[in-house]
C-alpha cells in the first residue's frame, strides 16, 4: 500500500472530542502505535489501520511532580504522577496517572506494574489522554 498524505494528528484529537482514543495498528505485524504515527516502529511497514484503544494499561514507573515538573495548570488534575505506561495493545509511552500521592506512592511502587485505565481529559482548548488508578 502506498503511503498517503493524511492528517493523523487531527484525526486523533477529533477522536478524543468524540470520546474515542485512537491508535494505528500495523497491517503487517499487528503492533499498535500510540500516539498514532505513519509507520510501524516494530517492522517498518507503513500500511496501518486506525483502531480504538481499549484503555486498559499498566504503569511501570512512578515519578511525582515537583517544582520543576509542575505548572499551575496541572492542579486541575488533582493528585497525579508521571511514568511509563504500557497499553494492553503493547504501546509504551510516558503518561500521567491520577490518584497517586506522596502517601500511597511507596505502596504502589512496591506493586509495580499497577493497573491503570485511560481517560479523556479536557485541557485548555483541547482534550488529551491521562490515566486513572484501577482499584483492585
Amino acid at each position: 500500500m502506498s503511503i498517503k498524505l493524511e492528517k493523523v494528528v487531527e484525526k486523533f484529537y477529533l477522536g478524543l472530542e468524540e470520546g474515542k482514543i485512537l491508535g494505528r495498528k500495523c497491517c503487517s505485524c499487528g503492533a499498535v502505535e500510540f500516539p498514532p504515527v505513519y509507520a510501524c516502529n516494530e517492522c517498518g511497514c507503513w500500511d496501518m489501520e486506525w483502531v480504538e484503544i481499549d484503555g486498559e494499561a499498566e504503569m511501570h514507573s512512578i515519578v511525582l511532580p515537583a517544582a520543576l515538573s509542575s505548572k499551575p495548570e496541572y492542579k486541575a488534575l488533582g493528585k497525579y504522577a508521571y511514568g511509563e505506561i504500557v497499553l494492553k495493545e503493547g504501546s509504551r509511552f510516558n503518561g500521567v496517572v491520577r490518584g497517586i500521592t506522596k502517601k500511597n506512592r511507596a505502596e504502589l511502587t512496591a506493586k509495580l506494574p499497577i493497573k491503570v485505565k485511560a481517560a479523556i481529559y479536557q485541557r485548555d482548548g483541547y482534550k488529551t489522554v491521562v490515566f486513572d488508578l484501577v482499584e483492585e
Partner: protein, 445 residues
C-alpha cells in the same frame, strides 16, 4: 513503541580521522563582568576557532570547511543562519559551512559531522565549533526596539529564567509530547527513579549520590580556570555555618527541585564557545607540520535518538549508542580511562557511566559517594566540572568536554590532571529531547 528500539550497525570510517587542535573560552556570565559584557558571537566563536587552529599548528588557509553549532540561535542571537553571520571572523571568508542544532547534544554531534566529512574524503581538514549565549539575549534598548528586532549592534541583557524555561518547550514535540504532559516533565527525575527501582537502593542513598556528584564536579571545577563555578561546596558549607558538607547539601540551601533532583544537580546555564580542528590522520604531516602534540584519533561515534514520549528516553538511547560504538570499535569498557557525560541533569553522569561499563552495574553510586569519580580518583568523570560547575553553554558544552578530554590525554591539565594519563576516553553526549552520541577517542601511537 516496544522496549527494544530499532538498531543500527555502524561501519568503519573510510579513513582514519583525528582531532589535532582544540580551543575553548571560559564558560561565563558575560554580561555580569565589565570585561566580558558586550562580547559577541563572532568574537566568542572566532576565539575558540583560532585557538584550536593555533593548537593544531594550522592557519585558516589549511582548513577546508567549518561546522557551526548553536542550540537556540533565534532566541540567543536573533539569527536564523548563525554560521554565516560569523563567517568573516576567523580568516575563512567564503569557505563552505553549515549550521546545526541538536540542543545540548550539539557539541558532541559537531564531532560526528566533522569526522564524517573528513572520513568520507571530501575534506582533509575541517573546523567544528559552537557558541551559545545561554545566560543573555540581544537587548532591546531604544524606544523603537523590540525583542524580535533589537536595533543595538551588540549589547545584551540577562535572560530571565522564565524566558529560558519558556523556550525549552521548543525542545518537545508540539503534537503529542506537550499534550500528554508527562514527556517533558520526566526529564528531571526519570533516570534517578529508574536507578533506585532497578538497583534497589533507597531514596536517601540516591539523594546522597546526587549530592556527591555535585560535590565531585565542583572539586574538579575548582581546579579549572575555564570553569564557571570554582568555590568548593565544603568551603560554601563552612561559610553558611555547616560543619559537614553533606549537611549543607541536604539543607534548604540546596532545595529539592524535582522528585529526587536538588538544585545543585542542575546545569548552570551560561555563555561560552569551543572548537576543534579535525583532520585526516594520514594528512597531518602535510597539513599540520607544526603540530606539537600527539593527534587524538576518533575511533567511532554511536548515535541514537529517542523522542520524549518514549519511556526512559535517555537510558534507551544511551544503551543503543553505547552498543553501537563498542561493536564498531571493539574497545572494551575496561579500556576506557576517562569518561564524560553531559550531565545538565546530574543523574546522567552516574547512569551513563554504568551503561558504558565504566562503573560496574549497580555499584556506580558507591564509587561516586567515595569520591572515586573526581579528578584524583581511579574512575574520573567530567574532570572539567561538568554542567553543574564548569557550566552549560548549551551547544558549546560538548566541544568543551572534547577540549578537556584532549588536554587530559595530552597530560596538560595541571592541578586537575588525572593520575593515570588517559589513552582512551568516552564522551556521552545527550540533549534535545533526546539525541545521544557516544564518542570513543584514543591517543594516536
Amino acid at each position: 513503541m516496544n522496549k527494544n528500539m530499532n538498531q543500527t550497525t555502524l561501519h568503519p570510517y573510510s579513513r582514519s580521522v583525528s582531532i589535532i587542535g582544540v580551543g575553548c573560552t571560559p564558560f561565563m556570565y558575560t554580561v555580569d563582568n565589565p570585561e566580558t559584557n558586550g562580547l559577541t558571537e563572532g568574537e566568542m566563536f572566532g576565539y575558540a576557532a583560532l585557538k584550536a587552529m593555533e593548537d593544531a599548528g594550522v592557519t585558516p588557509k589549511d582548513v577546508d570547511y567549518y561546522f557551526h553549532g548553536e542550540a537556540s540561535p533565534l532566541n540567543g542571537s536573533n539569527y536564523l543562519t548563525p554560521n554565516i553571520q560569523i563567517g568573516n571572523w576567523f580568516g575563512m571568508k567564503g569557505k563552505g559551512s553549515i549550521h546545526h542544532s541538536e540542543a545540548c547534544c550539539t557539541g558532541y554531534l559537531a564531532i560526528e559531522q566533522a569526522v564524517n566529512a573528513v572520513a568520507s574524503g571530501k575534506y582533509n581538514c575541517v573546523l567544528t565549533g559552537a557558541v551559545e549565549f545561554g545566560d543573555s539575549v540581544p537587548a532591546p534598548f531604544g524606544p523603537n526596539d523590540t525583542v524580535e528586532t533589537p536595533k543595538h549592534p551588540y549589547k545584551r541583557e540577562k535572560m530571565p529564567m522564565e524566558r529560558f524555561l519558556a523556550t525549552t518547550m521548543w525542545l518537545y514535540d508540539r503534537n503529542y509530547a506537550r499534550s500528554l504532559i508527562a514527556p517533558m516533565n520526566l526529564i528531571y527525575d526519570d533516570v534517578a527513579e529508574d536507578y533506585v527501582r532497578t538497583r534497589g537502593i533507597s531514596s536517601q542513598e540516591m539523594d546522597d549520590t546526587l549530592n556527591w556528584m555535585a560535590i565531585n564536579n565542583r572539586r574538579n571545577a575548582a581546579k579549572n580556570p575555564l570553569a564557571l563555578e570554582r568555590k568548593e561546596f565544603a568551603e560554601i558549607a563552612k561559610e553558611k555555618g555547616f560543619d559537614n558538607v553533606m549537611d549543607y547539601m541536604r539543607s534548604p540551601y540546596n532545595p529539592k527541585m524535582g522528585d529526587l533532583l536538588r538544585m545543585e544537580g542542575m546545569e548552570r546555564k551560561c555563555d561560552g564557545a569551543a572548537a576543534c580542528i579535525v583532520c585526516a590522520t594520514d594528512m597531518i604531516p602535510q597539513i599540520a607540520k607544526n603540530l606539537k602534540h600527539k593527534p587524538i584519533e576518533v575511533l567511532g561515534i554511536g548515535s541514537a535518538a529517542c523522542e520524549s514520549t518514549n519511556p526512559h528516553f535517555e537510558i534507551r538511547a544511551t544503551e543503543e549508542a553505547v552498543r553501537q560504538v563498542y561493536e564498531l570499535t571493539k574497545v572494551k569498557p575496561e579500556e576506557i580511562d576517562l569518561f564524560f557525560a553531559n550531565d545538565f541533569i546530574i543523574t546522567s553522569h552516574l547512569y551513563a557511566a554504568e551503561i558504558a561499563g565504566y562503573l560496574p552495574y549497580g555499584e556506580g553510586w558507591k564509587y561516586i559517594c567515595e569520591g572515586r569519580t573526581a579528578y584524583d580518583g581511579d574512575k574520573p568523570i567530567n574532570t572539567n566540572g561538568g554542567r553543574t560547575s564548569f557550566g552549560h553553554a548549551h551547544a558549546a558544552s560538548g566541544l568543551a568536554d572534547m577540549y578537556e578530554a584532549c588536554m587530559q590525554m595530552r597530560g596538560e591539565c595541571g592541578e586537575r590532571q588525572v593520575k593515570k594519563l588517559p589513552k582512551t576516553t568516552m564522551l556521552r553526549g545527550y540533549g534535545g529531547s533526546q539525541n545521544v552520541a557516544t564518542i570513543i577517542i584514543r591517543t594516536a601511537d
